[in-house]
């Protein structure tokens, strides 16, 4: 059983089932509060019947002109609640907010090129690779090599010309400084 609701500051006390997962980053308090203050409708939690947080999504609106879009900053589901379609439900909500509230042209997200499971999931959700950002992710430890990221995008209603879809996106390489 799962239910979507807005994330609140007090959820920071209760999101350990997700944030003890090694792939989920624990940011400092101001990072979360910053998102809540600026983009509150982009920050949702998924909870079970007893109120336990099963996952959450946080995002933001950014860009200019035809690059105005919704961005997925974090999407995480606790290990025990995977394969239930929770990620899709949360992505749906972020896309709805992008369309209805922010009127963005597309939603985008970054994913490690090696994370084939995530890439496959996003492709099933309608995302495609728009470009490859070279050495976007720093090596986790000294000596480890940097890793490229795929910038994946999904057009929203406003993107009538589907400018956020690029046929050969996987081979379209850009430098990290070009995407900031």
């Amino acid at each position: 059983m799962s239910s979507v609701r807005p994330f609140t500051a007090l959820d920071l006390f209760r999101f350990n089932a997700t944030n003890l997962d090694p792939l989920t980053e624990n940011y400092d308090i101001s990072f979360y509060l910053n998102y809540l203050a600026r983009w509150p409708t982009y920050f949702c939690a998924m909870e079970n019947a007893s109120g336990r947080i099963m996952g959450y999504i946080m995002g933001k609106a950014e860009g200019r002109s035809r690059e105005w879009h919704g961005h997925v900053t974090a999407l995480t589901v606790a290990p025990n609640y995977r394969r239930l379609g929770l990620a899709k439900t949360m992505m749906d909500e972020l896309e709805r907010v992008t369309d209805a509230v922010y009127k963005g042209y597309f939603v985008d997200l970054y994913v490690r090129v090696s994370n084939e499971i995530a890439i496959g999931m996003y492709e099933r959700l309608g995302y495609s690779v728009y470009r490859r950002v070279v050495d976007y992710y720093s090596g986790a430890k000294p000596g480890e090599t940097d890793e490229d990221a795929f910038d994946m995008r999904k057009p929203m209603k406003r993107d009538k010309k589907r400018g956020s879809v690029r046929e050969n996106g996987r081979n379209f390489r850009v430098r990290p400084e070009d995407v900031y």
């Binding site: 006390f13 209760r14 308090i29 809540l36 409708t41």
Partner: protein, 845 residues
């Protein structure tokens, strides 16, 4: 490029940072003597004087601040105003109004200076001065009528001021009403057609939430009805363009309101419209995952989405309302509800939807005791069996139906287990996916066994041991059989059978809790968990359990080895670090990691204190109004956290027990404005126990759980120790000669009483170990001794001294029986050593 005066000011700031207040004052005085009399220099001097904080320096600081604040015309410098505000704040709560007066005069003298007026507002927000903020915001909204945000800042500031005032304060109602009237005006100004809205009308979902928040404060009686009116309205409601920004937040609010009002008819109808139509449901597979294109039927075209999908809050309200209406005599609604659920399930290609199935389970549970319900209602047993068939291969299956399994009769529970066993046995194992699914189903089956047969066991008898041992063997077999399936898993993944190993540990821990003198099951648990963590390096359940078990057997160093693997960071220091750091100074004080982890954990409190005000400012700037009450509560809960005080006590004890580790200075106040918050997360640990008994995690904690009473007692004890140290230090000049008793510090009133009370509070004395009780009794007597000494009451001094030396101190060193090594022995020894150190201080006293 900075000016010469700025550079000179910087020198003063540097001394302040070094806490060299006298040197900072000298720098100011030297410049003043040379004739420099700038407002900034004088303010800086006053600021320095507030840090020295003797009666004389406080008087001088007040005089300087007064003369600068009363100047006509008022100062034009924002920097001076900011610093002068800090001076008044440092001079104490009695001068709180001075900050507001200061800014009010400055803003009035420059009526066109919007930046100055905003700066006044931000200053109050950053210092959480809601009275000042309310005045500053009202000034802004009156002076700059075209800026819509100022109107809402005034509303929020009035609300925050209302919330900060005592419940019985007449002003509280006044500011609540003011806030409500202002937001109500914005509501009334919002036209039916919101394409074009007036500046000060409601325009965002955050402002709608603010309106709803205010309703409950101002008109508690009518709040629900009025809130529902808003939520149902076309211009601001759930389905309006404005409200749609926070659709889920407002939709859930509406369901909550209908439920709390007991308006079952409306709740039923509302939920019905929100639930997905079968055609929409068909777009997902049985578990809500979107179907791949090749899974869809080619001629299927979804209708326009009417509902918001398979959300349990909606299903839950739908079934609950149907049950209530049925109880009230409306049988037709329950029938309709059942048909809707069944239709929804049928529409899916897999024949099931997780929420649809669970709705059916909940629906049947409503009639379980009554042997009643519309025709076609399955029994609860049938419904949970059905649920297992469709969802048994998901790890959440157990927790989804746990509450319903507990409702079954004894024979039904047996039937359920038998049914599940039969289903699991027949599951195919042709492909790897089938094998993985079978492991998941088997683990759910084992969890059911634990819940229904292991959890109720409470006596250490042979049959119990046999049952549990058999369970442990079975679960371990499952775990081992699953290992071969995980060869392609990533290093960050858990093995498919990990939960089976955790279940075996739960069985072993149950054996231990039934016979605590036998620690063998704990050592066996360690073996299993260490082995599991070889394959699943990041399994946090295993890591948490291993930390706990190492602590229990007294292998504190091994627990410290494991703890960093949890990678606890940021706010988790307040919610999770207690698993390792509770009583740590009296378990392993002589390990450098202890100090390091305590220091890391303590950082979160300063971090929250400095970051939250900035985030409040940001929320004002960005119109995130509905978040602000949450931000404030969050920061108060962190500031008043039980862990904050607990770690301060640990650090101070560490400084006594581990020479070389620095004392952390003075003890800070317990809680926030008198309230102590417990933010610790215990629920993160796996649990399959019956809801009628304590959670698994609670069943094997190392000692009683410290909470509010514990921190109040130990902070009082630290105050006593601190007083003794200060008393002894004040008794000697730097050259060692004694000085007059008139200058010696005095203990806070009734510290002994506080300690005695902590040990007597009903239900809460259970927060202490026996060693801690003995220690606190000793410190209580020392507190009495200290108080008597300062008032020269020799009779009480003699009596207390006799009590300490002949009775209380020896009790802290009780001979210990040590048949098995365990945390309790270490704890007792280190508490005894601390008692000895404190008692030794009495000699100098």
């Amino acid at each position: 490029m900075s000016t010469p005066n700025e550079r000179k000011n910087q020198l003063v700031w540097e001394q302040l940072e070094l806490k060299a207040y006298k040197q900072a004052l000298q720098l100011c005085n030297r410049r003043i003597k040379k004739g420099e009399k700038s407002e900034m220099l004088l303010t800086l001097k006053a600021f320095v004087l507030t840090h020295i904080a003797t009666p004389a320096t406080t008087d001088e600081a007040t005089q300087i601040a007064r003369s600068l604040s009363d100047r006509t015309p008022p100062t034009q410098s924002v920097d001076v105003l900011r610093l002068l505000s800090r001076v008044w704040s440092n001079l104490g709560p009695s001068q709180a109004d001075e900050v507001t007066k200061l800014w009010e005069r400055a803003v009035k003298s420059q009526p066109q200076n919007e930046d100055l007026a905003r700066e006044w507002f931000w200053g109050t927000v950053r210092t959480l001065d809601w009275r000042g903020a309310q005045k500053a915001a009202m000034n802004l909204q009156k002076s700059y009528t075209k800026r819509r945000e100022y109107w809402f800042w005034a509303v929020v500031s009035s609300l925050l001021l209302h919330n900060s005032l005592p419940v019985d304060s007449p002003e509280r109602k006044l500011f609540g009403t003011l806030a409500y009237r202002m937001i109500d005006k914005a509501r009334n100004d919002t036209p039916a057609d919101t394409t074009v809205t007036p500046a000060r009308a409601i325009q965002t979902s955050q402002e709608v939430s603010l309106l709803l928040e205010l309703l409950s404060y101002v008109s508690p009686g009518d709040a629900n009805k009025e809130a529902l009116d808003v939520l149902n309205s076309k211009n601001l409601g759930v389905d309006s363009t404005i409200g749609g920004g926070d659709w889920w937040g407002l939709a859930r609010k509406r369901l909550d309101l209908l439920e709390s009002a007991g308006d079952w008819r409306s709740l039923f109808e509302t939920c019905k419209t929100l639930l997905p139509k079968p055609q929409n449901a068909a777009e997902t597979n049985g578990n809500g995952e979107t179907m791949k294109d090749d899974e869809k039927k080619s001629d299927e075209k979804p209708e326009a989405v009417q509902g918001r999908g398979d959300d349990w809050r909606v299903w839950d309200g739908f079934v609950l309302a149907a049950g209530k209406l049925y109880d009230d005599g409306d049988k037709a609604v329950a029938k309709e509800s059942l048909e809707k659920i069944l239709k929804h399930r049928k529409a899916l290609p897999t024949g099931s939807s997780r929420h649809g199935d669970l709705a059916l389970v909940k629906f049947s549970s409503l009639f379980h005791d009554k042997n009643d319900g519309p025709e076609g209602t399955p029994t609860l047993l049938e419904a949970v069996e059905d649920y297992f068939v469709n969802t048994g291969n998901k790890s959440c299956c157990f927790e989804d139906i746990q509450v319903y399994l507990e409702m079954l009769e004894g024979s039904e529970k047996k039937d359920f287990l038998k049914y599940v066993e039969g289903k699991v046995e027949k599951l195919p194992e042709e492909s790897e996916k089938q094998k993985i699914d079978k492991i998941a189903s088997t683990i759910n089956y084992q969890k059911f066994i634990y819940l229904l047969t292991i959890s109720p066991l409470s006596k250490a008898i042979a049959t119990t041991t046999k049952t549990i041992t058999s369970f442990i063997t079975d679960t371990l077999r499952v775990y081992v059989s699953a290992l071969s399936l995980g060869s392609s898993l990533l290093v960050t993944d858990n093995q498919y059978g990990d939960d089976a190993a955790l279940l075996s540990v739960m069985g072993l821990v149950r054996l231990y809790t039934l016979t605590p003198s036998n620690q063998a099951p704990l050592y066996q648990s360690i073996q299993i968990l260490e082995s599991l963590l070889q394959k699943s390096k990041h399994n946090y359940q295993a890591l948490l359990l291993l930390v706990r078990i190492y602590l229990l057997i007294g292998a504190i160093g091994s627990a410290l080895d494991i703890y960093p693997r949890l990678n606890i960071k940021q706010i988790q220091n307040d919610t999770l670090s207690h698993f390792m750091l509770t009583r740590i100074s009296a378990l392993l004080p002589n390990d450098a990691r202890t100090a390091s982890f305590l220091s890391d954990a303590g950082g979160i409190y300063e971090s929250s204190r400095t970051q939250t005000p900035n985030m409040l400012q940001l929320a004002f700037e960005r119109g995130g109004y509905s978040q602000m009450m949450g931000f404030l509560e969050f920061s108060e809960r962190v500031a008043g956290s039980v862990c904050r005080s607990m770690y301060e006590v640990e650090i101070r004890r560490l400084a006594r027990l581990s020479p070389g580790y620095p004392d952390s200075g003075t003890v800070t106040e317990v809680g926030h404005k008198g309230t102590v918050w417990d933010n610790r997360d215990f629920s993160v640990v796996v649990d399959c126990e019956l809801s009628s008994i304590a959670s698994f995690e609670k069943s094997f904690r190392p000692g009683p759980t410290p909470a509010e009473n514990w921190v109040r007692a130990f902070v009082a004890a630290e105050e006593v120790i601190q007083f003794m140290t200060a008393y002894v230090a004040a008794g000697k000049e730097a050259n060692g000669t004694a000085i007059g008793s008139g200058e010696k510090p005095k203990p806070r009133d009734n510290l002994a009483g506080t300690l005695a009370m902590a040990l007597e509070v009903r239900d809460r004395a259970g927060e202490f170990t026996e060693a801690e009780k003995a220690y606190l009794l000793l410190i209580g007597a020392i507190a009495e001794l200290g108080a008597a000494a300062t008032r020269k009451d020799s009779e009480t001094v003699s009596k207390a001294l006799e009590e300490v030396t002949s009775d209380l101190f020896p009790k802290t060193l009780d001979p210990t029986t040590t048949e098995t090594p365990a945390w309790g022995l270490l704890h007792k020894l280190w508490m005894g050593k601390d008692a000895a150190i404190v008692s030794e201080g009495l000699v100098a006293f």
